[in-house]
Amino acid sequence: MDNALVTGMAVVGNKFKNNELFLPEVMIAARAMKAGLKILEPVLRKSNAELKGTLVLGTVRGDLHDVGKNMVSMMFRGAGFEVIDLGIDVPDEVFVEKIREHCPEVVGLSALLSTTLPAMKSTVEAINAAGLHEQTIIMVGGAPVTKEFANEIGADGWAPDAASAVEQAAALLKERTLEADR
């Protein structure tokens, strides 16, 4: 899995970032990855191969757009993460419930509409209030979301596109592991 599928998707991710590939090619590659994973699944289960982590992902309450979120989902799957996709228009309490249930390393919040940015803030606050932020990294993204906004609402990470989101998550996870080791 690591040597072929994950490495292959990393190449696709890089080429996507460099404008050598575009959304259709990424989708096709991700579909191939998914098909490959399905074949490998029994082998992976038998060998107890470890996933890179778990991502709980959703578009925040009031926002029904999912193209960006689906791209992020595919890129994380491609990088070896298990993705729990909560879909669109996800209420704060569902994010909180699913974080409790899956204990993900990363939570991804997506929004396309500037009118739903307050909902993104509210989700981060709900995760904080439930005492779950310490155990997970919160990442935000979507067309109207900026790095400044991410900082302002207390998210841990932001990325301008799906490929960068995976890199950013990996960097944040590494940072957190180093901190824990200190």
Binding site: F22, L23, P24, T115, P144, D161
Partner: protein
């Protein structure tokens, strides 16, 4: 220079000459502004906002509910999430786009058998009644009239097939994609020819092909799947054809010009477009319409910020003509009344040549 009429101002701008001042334009206007500025009457609202170019609308329906339905009927809260022009759209529209509570969520056109189902009848006079335009022109004869028509063949094909299915189909069944684009182009041309006869001065073809920082498909795919169809539209009409797209479109502008596109809206700054750069490179070929930031400026009530943003647009694109001031996309519901009012007021003050 003597004061020009709005129409003279716009037509002079389209000829890439300097009019008396920069004309004011809007592509689509949320019902909130039509209610605020015109008490629900679009014409009164456009006039009160100071627009030099009035939009001509082509009606679309989603299961019988028209665009801008909230101006003519009560839309229950349950039927709008984002509200706006699509408030009340819930179900599959005449093009095959799926809506939930006023938000686009996917496409229903999946196979060859679906094509006929989702190429709607022309219904020319129902979409743009001649009497309505006659009333417009009688009441406001000095205005320019733009056919702002957001049903361009490429973007609408993506939306009607759904993004994921469209992308897969480029590899699984490219001929299906081409046929849908082809049929949408034929439909689009017939409607535009009709509205041209009614008296449109120019067409702004809404066709979304990009998002923040990137185009949906590669320039090569765009060249194959959009450009020949854009050219057919341009060749079929006598009026200039401008192009509206969301997102970062700079890598596609040479291709658009090769198809005969004469103007560009909305040049979204947060998506990565640079108005000054585009003016410098394409200012003699494209009339530029934009690009007051409607994500982080027009959504505030910071009028100083609005004025600085209008100043930025003027500095980057006013010189030599060929520029109309507009928002960097639609005047959507999250834009504030204060900011929009100030944008158009201040632009009249600093837009003089």
């Amino acid at each position: 220079m003597r004061e020009m009429t709005s129409r003279e101002r716009v037509l002079t701008t389209i000829k890439h000459q300097e009019p008396d001042r920069v004309p004011l334009y809007a592509f689509s206007v949320d019902p909130k502004f039509i209610k605020h500025f015109g008490g629900g009457n679009p014409l009164k609202a456009f006039d009160a906002m100071g627009l030099d170019s009035f939009p001509i609308r082509v009606q679309n329906w989603c299961q019988g509910v028209p665009l801008l339905a909230s101006l003519v009927m009560d839309i229950p809260e349950d039927f709008q999430t984002a509200g706006g022009a699509f408030g009340g759209w819930h179900g599959v529209d005449e093009f095959g786009r799926i809506w939930k509570r006023g938000s686009y969520i996917g496409g229903a056109l999946k196979t060859w058998d679906d094509i006929d189902k989702y190429i709607p009848p022309l219904q020319l006079e129902e979409r743009t009644p001649p009497s309505v335009l006659e009333t417009y022109k009688n009441k406001y004869p000095d205005k320019a009239y733009a056919l702002n028509f957001h049903s361009g063949p490429f973007g609408l094909t993506i939306e009607s097939m759904g993004f994921e299915h469209f992308f897969y189909s480029l590899y699984d069944d490219r001929e299906l994609v081409k046929e849908v684009i082809n049929r949408r182009t034929e439909w689009f041309i017939e409607i535009c020819k009709y509205v041209q006869e009614l008296g449109a001065d120019y067409l702004v073809m809404g066709d979304d092909v990009a998002y923040k920082g990137k185009t949906f498909v590669s320039p090569n795919d765009f060249k194959e799947l959009a450009i020949p169809y854009f050219k057919r539209i341009v060749d079929a009409l006598d009026i200039p054809v401008f192009w509206h797209s969301d997102g970062y479109i700079e890598p596609l502008l040479d291709l658009a010009i090769s198809a005969g596109i004469k103007g560009l809206h909305a040049i979204e700054p947060p998506a990565g477009n640079d108005l000054g750069r585009i003016k410098q490179k394409y200012g003699d070929k494209l009339v530029l319409l934009g690009n007051v930031d409607c994500v982080s400026v027009l959504t505030t009530t910071d009028l100083d910020l609005v004025r600085r943003e209008v100043d930025r647009c003027m500095e980057q694109a006013k010189a030599g003509g060929g520029f109309m001031l507009a928002s960097s996309n639609s005047l959507h519901g999250a834009c504030t009344i204060e900011a929009v009012t100030e944008m158009y007021r201040y632009a009249q003050e600093v837009g003089r040549y």
